[in-house]
């Protein structure tokens, strides 16, 4: 078993953190895992992304030529990574910022209003956790509870209980919402 996800978005959207939480959850589950970020100056102002590979045997390459799952938090990320997703894979599209449907037909699209859902929860910055919920469902190898646990470990410094709580809520919300029927919603501008 080897499953891979690319988390991609605009710097500041928290995609690196989301990937790291998933990686931690996988580790706590006793799995092998690698987390590989894009790094350095290109992060500033531009896009940020990370790749998480989860497996039950030692992982060869942490670079993934055909990820099973893509989380695209903004348009440029979708443009860049959609072509690389493995056939039959899943693309999670942050509909709050992306105004086009998938171009490919051999992958499954999951459309999620990540920013809006986070705002509804009163924590606009938790859009990444909403999206992570969807990733967890699409990936199917790490239990949601383990990821909730990992959020606590990543964010849970003393006095940050509320933050952990609302992020866990966002994770669950995303997980739950992404269970909805996968048909693409209506887009104002076609891609």
């Amino acid at each position: 078993m080897e499953r891979s996800v690319v988390f991609a978005g605009f710097g500041g959207q928290g995609v690196l953190l989301a990937g790291k939480i998933l990686a931690r959850a996988a580790m706590e589950e006793g799995l092998e895992v690698t987390w590989l970020p894009s790094y350095g100056p290109e992060m500033r102002g531009g896009t940020a992304n990370c790749t998480v590979v989860i497996a039950d045997e030692p992982i060869g390459s942490p670079i993934v030529d055909r990820p099973d799952v893509l989380l695209a938090m903004n348009g440029p990320s979708l443009d860049r990574f959609e072509p690389r997703v493995a056939p039959g894979g899943t693309v999670i599209v942050n509909r709050s910022l992306i105004e086009r449907p998938l171009r490919r037909t051999d992958v499954k699209g999951v459309y999620l209003q990540a920013n809006d859902l986070a705002r509804e929860l009163g924590e606009p910055r938790a859009a990444n956790m909403v999206a992570l919920g969807a990733v967890v469902r699409a990936l199917g190898v790490v239990p949601l509870e383990a990821v909730g646990q990992a959020i606590g470990e990543e964010l849970g410094a003393k006095g940050r209980e509320r933050l952990v709580e609302v992020n866990r809520a966002a994770l669950e919300r995303g997980h739950q919402k992404s269970g909805a029927p996968p048909s693409p919603p209506h887009f104002s501008r076609p891609g």
Binding site: P41, R44, G45, G46
Partner: protein, 251 residues
């Protein structure tokens, strides 16, 4: 001058800059300094004989933002590279654009000796008190107590020393023609800095010798401050450590 209906354009992109977007973070003074330099090059009409030496640092792309010949120098060596260019062809106007890590840490020797030899170059020294490009480590100019990724508990003068005052150090040498420290935190200081940059370049054009314009710049990302707050911090705190004004003007 181009017009919109009955209106005249009173502010436009300097002609000596290319169309490329800056890669800097929102609010970063590097962009502003680039614009000021472009304006000064326009004003002096020296675009066709200027060479911009870009450092390693957030301004690494600087050579590509000017419609002038440009070169990217090794970290800290821009003053040496500028020396090489100027000695090879004294008719060129050579601008060495450098950050504080570049100029005041690794490049200390090149900085001091180019100044001491009185190389006829113009050094633009962007003192943002941090290593921007590499992710916010301590610079020689970092303020006492300032937390950075390599001084997580704040700069401790007992083991890390106090901020290095470059303009003062260069001003103490005999050769430099013009040494000044400027800031950009409000319109008045932007205008002053603009005049300083113009003067520094003019001195070079007039073959008078070496000049250094130190500019107290922000680094909203490295400082973890919104840009407007970062500018206020310069006005309120940074200028206390690095006093503004001309230190030497032998022009």
């Amino acid at each position: 001058m181009p017009k919109t209906e009955t209106m005249t354009k009173v502010f436009a992109r300097p002609r000596s800059l290319t169309e490329k977007k800056f890669t800097y973070c929102p609010g970063c003074h590097h962009g502003l300094i680039t614009r000021i330099l472009g304006g000064a090059i326009d004003k002096l009409g020296i675009q066709e004989r200027t060479v911009v030496v870009a450092p390693v640092g957030c301004a690494v792309f600087a050579y590509e933002w000017f419609r002038c010949d440009g070169v990217q120098a090794a970290h800290g060596r821009a003053a040496a590279v500028a020396t090489g260019i100027k000695r090879a062809n004294p008719d060129l106007v050579v601008i060495s654009y450098q950050g504080d890590g570049d100029l005041a840490a690794i490049g200390t020797a090149e900085t001091i000796h180019a100044a001491n030899r009185g190389e006829a170059i113009t050094v633009i020294f962007v003192n943002n008190q941090i290593y921007g490009m590499t992710g916010g480590q301590m610079a020689p100019t970092t303020l006492d107590g300032q937390a950075t990724t390599s001084s997580p508990r704040g700069r401790d003068p007992a083991t890390m020393g106090h901020p290095l005052r470059v303009a003062e150090m260069i001003a103490a040498l005999q050769a430099p023609m013009y040494v000044t420290r400027q800031a950009l935190y409000d319109a008045k200081h932007i205008a002053q800095a603009t005049r300083a940059v113009e003067k520094a370049l003019r001195y070079q054009v007039e073959k008078r010798g070496y000049s250094l314009v130190e500019i107290l710049a922000n680094c909203p990302t490295g400082w973890k401050m919104p840009p407007v707050k970062a500018n206020e911090h310069i006005a309120a705190t940074v200028t206390g450590v690095f006093p503004l004004g001309d230190l030497v003007d032998r022009g």
